[in-house]
């Protein structure tokens, strides 16, 4: 790959990956760099502001949002976010929340226009550089994997195929379908603690279907949905492996070495 392909990418890592799953963040960096990007991490970023937005606390949400928009606006290049939900929030709700003041409104639009969700960006990177995402599968697939197309990536950003193709490119994985693949997993942010029984009911529908389909590996691009589903699987003592797509890609590569 020639260095002329190199592009500076700002990583907005999301609060959950930062605090709970730092390895996913490292895998994101590894994949972006492997495809030729130069990754920077704006150190003053915090959280996009969505939790307070969904809870109806828009004063708090807007303040948090504006801080992060300012941090990102001081940088240049594409902003990559390894979460469809946070990306959807900054792209679609950010400009609306920031519209109170003409200057911040323009800034919000400017930042939003630079944002790309991780699977969508990597897919484009690979296409652009003609990276052989799909290495020859020299061994038969060993594990049945399902790609959970989280709601905000799916319905907010129109992404699903991107993550699925990335998963298809991972050696040793057979991607399977489940019934109601596009139905919500029941997480919904604070919904999961405000209405825990309903959230659990929806989750159990999803987990039943994963079990029925004999899924051994659950892959997604939104760490929040994955926490919820893995938390539920642990209670069922189901050993299904739950991984972020970035980790599935990098782990798949290590397997081959």
């Amino acid at each position: 790959m020639s260095q002329s392909m190199s592009e500076t990418v700002q990583l907005f890592v999301t609060c959950i990956i930062d605090a709970v799953f730092p390895q996913v963040g490292r895998d994101v960096v590894e994949e972006l760099e492997r495809n030729g990007a130069e990754v920077e991490f704006p150190a003053d970023q915090t959280c996009c502001g969505q939790p307070a937005y969904n809870a109806g606390h828009h004063t708090e949400s807007t303040e948090v949002l504006l801080h992060n928009l300012e941090v990102l606006d001081r940088t240049s290049g594409t902003i990559v976010i390894p979460s469809g939900s946070c990306a959807d929030f900054l792209i679609h709700h950010g400009p609306r929340l920031a519209s109170g003041d003409p200057e911040t409104a323009v800034m919000a639009e400017r930042v939003a226009a630079r944002i790309r969700e991780f699977t969508s960006y990597v897919t484009e990177q690979r296409e652009r550089a003609s990276v052989e995402g799909t290495e020859a599968h020299d061994q038969p697939p060993t594990r049945r994997a399902f790609y959970h197309p989280s709601c905000h990536a799916l319905r907010g950003l129109g992404l699903r195929r991107e993550g699925e193709s990335l998963l298809d490119s991972v050696t040793g994985v057979e991607r399977v379908e489940i019934e109601g693949a596009e139905e919500c997993c029941g997480f919904g942010g604070l919904f999961a603690v405000e209405m825990p029984e309903v959230s659990t009911g929806i989750m159990n529908t999803k987990l039943d279907r994963l079990e029925e389909a004999g899924v051994e590996m659950l892959v997604g691009a939104d760490a929040a949905c994955l926490i919820h589903l893995e938390g539920g699987l642990r209670r069922r003592e189901n050993p299904m492996q739950v991984v972020h797509i970035a980790s599935a890609i990098t782990a798949g590569r290590e397997d081959r070495r």
């Binding site: 890592v13 930062d18 605090a19 709970v20 799953f21 730092p22 390895q23 963040g25 490292r26 991490f41 150190a43 003053d44 915090t46 959280c47 502001g49 307070a52 937005y53 969904n54 809870a55 109806g56 606390h57 828009h58 004063t59 708090e60 949400s61 303040e63 948090v64 801080h67 941090v71 709601c151 319905r155 907010g156 109601g180 596009e182 139905e183 919500c184 029941g186 919904g188 942010g189 919904f191 999961a192 603690v193 405000e194 209405m195 825990p196 029984e197 309903v198 959230s199 659990t200 009911g201 929806i202 989750m203 529908t205 926490i227 919820h228 893995e230 938390g231 539920g232 642990r234 209670r235």
Partner: protein
């Protein structure tokens, strides 16, 4: 908890019954049919756009179209009655029905009369009210409430209905839908022939022609509006379109979205009382236009919900509705549309927790025939709830702390550091099995991950930052 979270409590109690299983099955079946009907119709997307434009245009000019509609109805020989609220509507309707003592009233399906609790009111005045829509007939027999806008007994299985007919109509038990249908038809026929008044809802009123359109799959709607001497149509004040052609557009997306049909079996257009030479029809035609909170909704930032054409697709596709069924909402309108509309129509505080009964997954927005951004409106209603009657007041301090910390990188970093301490103290097992206070809602059914011992930003600082 300082406030009873009533949706949650009702949902838990409903989830303990067999109802949600029936609802989940039926709702998924409806969605399958809808998908067929959408794929079947090439210009579906353009038609949805047109339907949306028609509805938004009507709402933006509602008073003009209401005036035009009233003039047209009167020109056709009908009469228009205006009701500001449920009490007034009941009074107006009872006055007409009460011209004869002990009237027999037959009804075809109408959600707005559910808002009014009209049946109870008329029965209280000594009249007999018979629901003739099969679903509503079952609801009435069971002394229940409809659980879905278009499928009132979605929460019942045919075995439940068989039991009910056996007990209340004294027939031998059967759960064969054909037989049950025949029993209901036989039972209802005599009422059609002898009723004094027919009361119907209105799917769409047409301002230009003064007509009302009802859409049904049973002949009952047509009989109710044509057989009795008096026909009273009860209409929510927002249910108008400007022209006949507009009504056709609405009916097109309505049938496909609601029941997955190209067209409902009966699309009935009533334009006034019987005219000389007409083979049938009522001598008297009245339209009761009901506000009952709609003007209030129209003045809020959730007003777009009034563009709804009541197809029920957002209920059918909603993961929450499928899990709990319509009764958990405790309001006439359930599901996503109800969660926006109900707190607007009622005193807001009565249903302030309904907007939170959603994971904001966006499936409703995707299927809405008039493309209402329901998740956005749910969030609008949440904002209002936090200001007027926050059902999750306990979240306030936490969100305030979050708000303060997440706009100050230094404070945020020390919060993260505190989190890492917890992670280290947690030791080898990286998941919590029990969390305290309100977070225990999470650990009822799910483990929760402990913060990592080294955050991403720490790793970056130590390994990657250029300094």
């Amino acid at each position: 908890m300082s406030q009873p979270v009533t949706f949650r409590r009702r949902a838990v109690s409903e989830m303990g019954t067999p109802k949600p299983a029936a609802v989940g099955r039926a709702a998924r079946r409806f969605m399958g049919k809808r998908q067929w009907a959408v794929d079947d119709f090439t210009p579906m997307e353009e038609t949805r756009d047109r339907a949306r434009m028609i509805r938004l245009h009507t709402l933006a000019n509602l008073h003009r179209y209401l005036d035009q509609f009233a003039d047209s109805v009167e020109r056709n020989g009908g009469q228009v009655l205006w009701a500001a609220d449920a009490a007034e509507a009941n009074l107006l309707i009872a006055e007409v029905v009460g011209r004869k003592e002990g009237s027999l009233v037959i009804k075809s399906k109408s959600m707005v009369t559910e808002e009014l609790d009209l049946n109870a009111h008329l029965q209280g005045e000594g009249h007999t009210v018979v629901e003739t829509d099969l679903g509503e007939f079952i609801v009435q027999l069971a002394e229940d409430h409809p659980s879905h806008i278009i499928a009132p007994v979605m929460h019942l299985t045919r075995q439940d209905i068989g039991e009910l007919f056996h007990k209340r109509l004294g027939i031998p038990y059967t759960d064969d839908p054909e037989q049950l249908n025949a029993v209901a038809r036989r039972h209802l026929r005599r009422f059609f022939l002898s009723a004094d008044v027919g009361i119907s809802g209105v799917n769409t009123g047409i301002a230009e022609t003064g007509s009302i359109v009802t859409v049904t799959n049973e002949g009952n709607g047509w009989l109710t509006t044509a057989a009795p001497r008096t026909h009273i149509a009860v209409m929510g004040m927002e249910r108008l379109v400007p022209t006949f052609e507009d009504a056709a557009t609405i009916v097109e997306v309505l049938a496909r979205s609601a029941t997955g049909q190209r067209l409902s079996v009966y699309t009935n257009v009533v334009s006034g009382p019987r005219r000389p030479g007409d083979p049938d029809g009522p001598d008297e035609f009245l339209v009761v236009i009901v506000d009952n909170g709609r003007s209030r909704v129209l003045s809020t930032d959730a007003s777009e919900i009034l563009a709804c054409i009541r197809c029920g697709a957002c209920l059918n596709v909603c993961p929450v509705f499928r899990e709990v069924g319509g009764h958990a909402y405790g309001q006439v309108y359930s599901g996503p549309v109800g969660s926006v509309l109900a707190p607007g129509l009622a005193e807001f505080t009565e249903a302030a927790d309904l907007p939170f009964a959603s994971s904001l997954c966006g499936a409703c927005r995707e299927v809405c025939p008039v493309r209402i951004d329901i998740p956005k409106l749910l969030v609008h209603q949440r904002v209002r709830a936090t200001r007027e009657n926050d059902p999750f007041r306990w979240l306030g301090p936490g969100l305030a702390l979050y708000g303060q910390a997440a706009k100050r990188p230094r404070v945020w970093k020390s919060l993260l550091a505190a989190g890492r301490m917890v992670g280290r103290l947690k030791g080898r097992d990286e998941w919590f099995h029990r969390l305290p206070f309100h977070a225990k809602g999470w650990t009822q059914s799910r483990d929760f991950p402990a913060p990592a011992r080294e955050s991403f930003r720490q790793w970056w600082k130590e390994n990657r930052s250029g300094t």
